[in-house]
Each structure stands twice: as structure tokens, then as C-alpha cells.
Amino acid sequence: MRIGVVTFPGSNCDYDAYAAFRHVLGCPVEFLWHADSDLHSVDCVILPGGFSFGDYLRAGAIARFSPVMKSVVKFAADGGLVWGICNGFQVLTEAGLLPGVLRRNSTLRFACQQVRLRVDNVRTPFTRGCHPGQILKMPIAHGEGNYYADPEVIAGLERSGQIVFRYVNAQGEPDLRSNPNGSCHNIAGIINKEGNVLGMMPHPERAVESILGSADGLALFNSLIGAGVPAVGTDTTVASPLIERRARV
């Protein structure tokens, strides 16, 4: 499987996603530029975290009109895998690839903390290696992650099992205290009806090595690339000095 990570002006988790695939998993990955409509025949497009176009107007609202997004919309319609993380989730809702909207956190504060996610749907390409109800620890870092949709839309998501991740407490219950941003039904991530476009606010790419505080994000990466264990002795070809530094750490 070949992965493409989109870089928008203001993306800041593109290198984290790239490093997770290349250096932790040894999976072929390349960057895709926002102004370039060519997806380079990748099998999965990652829309990374960050603040594309400065979050001007609404988070993700400008990025959705980038040339690359026209191709991503078509790619998704043809069944291609698309994974939006944090700002990428916001871009997916603005682009209409996922229902609803990510509003300002109900606390009005930027939320930067470790959370627990419960995996509520394991019949997706992104979670098929998880067991139902599995709890994953990973960080969130967002000011606008408060998932909102009309009650009928939420009911539809519930009925069709499109809610893939929920914020939960240590017992695995989605209660008020474990909800960091006011999201309806503690929603942390949803998938489209067709099951090929996933959006989530938490950052699995920042939870791929125990030194980062959690390696639980690997459960999703391994589901996606169909691997059982992280690869060792990965390709050391270096794309940039930044990557080289991270690889040595």
C-alpha cells in the first residue's frame, strides 16, 4: 500500500504522519502538495493535522477548495481510502465528504491532552485489527473539535455504525467528564456510509512509539496497511533533514 500525505499551507502534522508510515512502519509514503491535483496513484490519502490556511473563516473551509481536494473528492467517490486527522477531519466535513461540522470547543479553550478512545466499529479498513470496544490512548490538540450535526444526522450515524471512535473514561463509558470538547454523543471520529473516508480529531500519528507516551495509534496504522507488527530495518532514504533528525531520535 502506498500512502500520500497532503501538505496545505499551515499543516503541521504532515511530517508526523509521514514519519509514522515511513520510519515506524516502513510503509511507502510521499507528500502531496495542496496546489497539485495529481495524487500520484497512491492507495490512501492522509489529510493531516494543523491549521490549514490559518483556520481563516472556519477551520478547513479554505483548504477544501484547494486543487488537491478536487482530486481527493473524486478519489473518495471512486472508493479510494481517505483519512482525515484533526484539521483533516475539519476539511472533510467542509468538503461534504463527511456529515456535520467541528465547532469551537464548548470550553472555548484549546484542548491539548491525552484521551481514551473506544473503538465502536471494527469493520473499517482503519480499525479492522482492533477488537470491538478496544480502548486506545492518544493525544488531542485542537480548538475546534466539538462535533455537531442535526439530531437526525446523529441518529443516522448511530444506526449505521458510522461512529467509529468515542471519548470514554477508564471504564470505557462515554461520560460528560471524558468529553474534552462538547462533541455530540462523545464523537471523536466518524466514517462515511461507504466506509472509505474516516475523520477523527485525535492524533494516532503522535502515538506510534512508547517514547511518545503511547503506541496505541499503531493499531490503526497496522489495520490500514495490513501488517501485524511494526516493521524493523525500515528504508533509511532521507527526504529532509527534519526527517533524518526524527529518525535518529
Partner: protein
């Protein structure tokens, strides 16, 4: 073509919670402003554009609002034009 000034006001739909408005209200009350029943925060866009007439300008601003300035999931918009 005439230079027009359009104003687009984007508001949260009724029934959508507005924590920002609630916080602004609390701050105003702490400052001693009394009798505030409710505050809803929104956005205003002032747009200068060339158009043959007011109606044409309104049509274009409405299209802009539908496509970009407002998110129909949570927001409504109102367009005004002065020539």
C-alpha cells in the same frame, strides 16, 4: 458596472448552542451591564464589488455565502447591498 458595497451577516442557526455568546454575556454582566437576555455571536463581511445592478450583486453575494461564507449545517446568512 457600478461599485457596490455588500454586507453579509452570518449567524448561528436558532437552536445551535453558542458558548462564545454565553461567555461574552457573562463577561458583560461581570462588568455591571444588566438586563442582557441573550447574546449570539456572528460574523460580518463587507464586500466591495462591481455589478450591473443591486439585484445582480445580491445574487453573487448569495452564491458566495452559500458556497463559502456560511456553513449551512450550523449557520444562516443575510445579504444587504448598497450602491
Amino acid at each position: 458596472m457600478v461599485m457596490m458595497t455588500g454586507t453579509v451577516i452570518v449567524r448561528l442557526k436558532e437552536g445551535v448552542l453558542d458558548p462564545q455568546g454565553q461567555t461574552i454575556r457573562r463577561a458583560l454582566e461581570h462588568m455591571g451591564f444588566q438586563g442582557i437576555e441573550n447574546i449570539r455571536a456572528g460574523k460580518t463581511f463587507e464586500i466591495h464589488l462591481d455589478a450591473p445592478n443591486v439585484e445582480a450583486a445580491k445574487t453573487r453575494l448569495t452564491e458566495m455565502s452559500q458556497k463559502l461564507l456560511a456553513n449551512p449545517v450550523i449557520e444562516t446568512f443575510h445579504v444587504e447591498v448598497k450602491s
